[in-house]
Subunit: 347 residues, 2 copies
């Protein structure tokens, strides 16, 4: 089903303002959630609205942001989100990183005590819109074991890198560190299909192709084994460790509504023009993408896509036809409207 | 077989000085090659010495480095290697990046017209030794197709991230973007074994589990499909594009001894102490590694290793027992000694 953009926007804003959140903060969260659903990254869209609301009601996330700057140099800032909403903290942190890059070429915001911030690409794209390279990393609650381990120690940490193009939407990579999404393993389980090697391990940490063994006490596996594990671990260093915040087993699940989550982010901006002329950059990057787009196609393939390209195509389509939403999410949002005593999406 | 460290050091230095290279430059190349073999990354060790020598003799690599600083701001430097030896350029660039980070918290060296620089970890570790985080990326000649492509457009670009520890060797990730090494596919071919899905594609870009089809005109596949492809493409942006240098199909193979190679690097240093107190950092990072090292072990596993840990263990062992070397490499080096009229490794 498809929801009118303005309707879901108004609905989401109202959910947060009803709880006492300032309008401009509500708007930031809404826009990040909306962008996710428009890009069809539904796992990070309005599906998360009910848990965000619950965490605010339980005072695990602050209703009104209290963000403090613990350190501020020419190029770096250390931000304490004090458990304010992740999107609000991350938006402000990325703005700080961009501002520093405007003045000194590079800007880094190290963020601690934030919360789930939605899609990483939202923030890296903020840099790309300013003719900068944006690199955004976050940690999460631990989800995967070490190589040879049988206990969750590293998050499915996302990394996003965005780079502007002149005549097209930016290049934007936005990936997490597991080999595959948990949903794909659930799907194979329902269909009684084997999963490929490398997708998951069983409860004892042994590789398995049986989806049941992953779902029942097993774990997702990092992409490329030691490569994904290594990237995810270094992501913990760049986020939680470097900000003096929480990491790994310190972080409870966002669905544990008795505990604060304290997520950390790493947000880097590089101002291209302070290194090489923008024209040179744009000519070069478009040469690079033409190598990809014009490359010989594999049998059965009609297109070679750039990082983020498919999501931009979806976004464009959905901006016209409405925000795609699963019925289950729609129903949950309508339940939420009763709880908060605001207009439902059907009204 | 094992070669005495001092012997191979002297031999390698002599190869380069015999060609007219200044001693201090020869020494830098030798140390990077030695480190690779000590860490048993033999693909990047003295195995490469003959091709380095050949490229210098053919004047594709400069005998004496001519490195120019095209741009130099407080935080960023744009370096043109003018086709000097990759190790010499990269070493100088990483030093520049570290120096900037000492003064301004972060330092970036964007490098163009360099050459193959050996193992990336060598340079990221230079930052770690100064209590900094080091991030090093390089491009290479294209080796893999796009997703849905059947033509080489992205390199097997390495990325290395190093972070210092107080009581142990640094954490150091050093990975390239292919799912597996080509050598493993050759091995499966020899043994008449199938390869797992995702390791490679055939000449038409179709996924295959037949190693023969990868070896005969096919391609290595990026780790995790679109994830590895996306990372490798963003690596091209951060290196070749951002430095105004070469990238993708512009770069010939280093074994094509009729063409200059012009490789680009991205070298970032972050001075931890300018963000959080070093003591806090060290306590936190050691807490993180204890989560990994003390985690419950998978059936059959006795240890959970950190990024770079296995290589440090090998290095320690090999520093005592000598530099491990394949007979084939040993023979090639002795041939080289005749060609250059220097003492062979057997003398």
């Amino acid at each position: 089903m498809y929801i009118n953009q303005d309707k879901i926007r108004k609905f989401s804003n109202q959910c947060f303002t009803e709880l006492g959140m300032p309008e401009e903060e509500a708007r930031v969260i809404t826009e990040v959630l909306l962008e996710a659903d428009l890009r069809e990254i539904h796992s990070h869209g309005f599906l998360r609205l009910p848990i965000y609301v619950e965490r605010i009601k339980k005072e695990l996330t602050k209703t009104k942001a209290e963000i403090s700057y613990e350190k501020d140099t020419d190029t770096m800032t250390l931000i304490d989100g004090n458990n304010s909403a992740g999107q609000v903290v991350a938006y402000q942190a990325m703005e700080a990183s961009i501002k520093k890059a405007e003045h000194f070429g590079i800007g880094l915001a190290a963020v601690r005590n934030s919360n789930h911030f939605g899609i990483s690409a939202y923030y890296s794209l903020m840099a790309a819109k300013k003719n900068m390279i944006g690199i955004v990393i976050s940690n999460t609650a631990p989800l995967m074991p070490a190589i040879g381990g049988a206990e969750k120690v590293i998050g499915n940490n996302p990394i996003s890198i965005a780079a502007p193009l002149k005549n097209y939407e930016p290049l934007v990579l936005d990936m997490a560190m597991s080999n595959t999404a948990f949903g794909k393993i659930l799907y194979a389980k329902e269909k009684n299909q084997e999963i490929p090697e490398g997708w998951g391990v069983d409860a004892k940490g042994a590789p398995t192709t049986d989806p049941n063994k992953v779902v029942n006490g097993g774990f997702l596996a990092p992409v490329g084994g030691p490569k994904g594990f290594g990237l995810a671990l270094m992501a913990e260093v760049l986020t939680g460790v470097l900000s003096g915040g929480d990491f790994s087993k310190m972080i409870p699940s966002m669905y544990d509504v008795n505990k604060k989550q304290s997520i950390s982010h790493f947000m880097l901006s590089i101002d291209i023009n302070q290194l090489i002329p923008l024209e040179t950059y744009y000519n070069n990057v478009e040469q690079l993408i033409s190598y990809v787009k014009d490359s010989k196609k594999a049998t059965g393939a009609s297109e070679t896509y750039l990082p983020g390209e498919i999501e931009f195509l979806k976004e464009k389509k959905n901006k016209t036809q409405g925000v795609p939403m699963q019925e289950q999410t729609f129903d949950k949002l309508n339940e939420l409207s009763k709880e908060l005593k605001i207009d439902s999406l059907t009204e």
